[in-house]
Amino acid sequence: MSRTQANRPSGVEAGSGPDAVLRALADPQRRRMLQLVRSHELAAGQIATHFDITQQAVSQHLRLLQRAGLLSERREGARRLYSLRPESLEPVRTVLAELWPDALMRLKHVVEQGKRQKQEERMTR
């Protein structure tokens, strides 16, 4: 592990995708931040009032959530407004969106292979 990596706050290296989302959600404070903005936009300062940590630490958490694709950020003057991107929190959909096309590919394979086997059996009979 290099020094730069060791000095980085945990999870900041996260890109997008399930791994990044998992890392972002590993922290209870970040989970509470998501719950705060699930139904309406809030400015970073408003979010910070719910926590006993510095505004800077809150901003760092928000940036991490944004980078993982969980939050969207909108600027209004000097304020940054955050809201939840619900489409990023869809493990059920993600599982199924991957499951069904793969399953149908296998269905095609087993049906067509089963048919070929029957035809070969008929020919050798």
């Binding site: 989302v21 590993a26 493990p91 059920v92 959909r93 199924l96 499951l99 069904w100 049906v111 048919k115």
Partner: protein, 134 residues
């Protein structure tokens, strides 16, 4: 807050609907393409039980119209986001020449399932972990 949604997948198979249909309703044939274990009673109200990896999928057949259409409910017992029987899978088989187009619709999926309570996060994160590692 929850916004029901539908997933769609389709494929073209070089076989007739009658040749494909048994693969949708017979446990021995179903597990050749999805899941590892199945218990199916393909009649309206009949049991639809399937294990996909470690995940038990439970529901009931809604409609069974061989060889063109089958509908069953789909859910995971104990899941807050997708309880047993909460979503619906519809499979349509349409002959096109010597082939069949298989269309699959997965209806009534939760589009937003951010857990409401801290307890809900545990199963949510477990599922997400499965996605991440698959």
């Amino acid at each position: 807050m929850s916004r029901p949604d539908t997933l769609r997948a389709s494929i073209r198979i070089a076989a007739t609907p009658a040749e494909i249909f048994p693969y949708l309703v017979e446990p021995r044939l179903l597990v050749q393409w999805i899941g590892t274990w199945a218990d199916l009673n393909p009649e309206p109200g009949g049991v639809f039980a399937l294990n996909v990896g470690d995940t038990p999928v439970r529901g009931a057949f809604v409609s069974v119209d061989p060889p063109h259409r089958v509908v069953f409910t789909w859910g995971v017992p104990g899941s807050a986001a997708l309880p047993a029987g909460s979503s619906t899978v519809e499979i349509l088989l349409t002959a096109e020449g010597s082939e069949t187009v298989v269309e699959l619709f997965h209806h009534d999926l939760p589009a937003d399932e951010l857990p409401q309570h801290e307890a809900g996060w545990t199963s949510f994160l477990d599922r997400l972990r499965q996605v991440a590692s698959s």
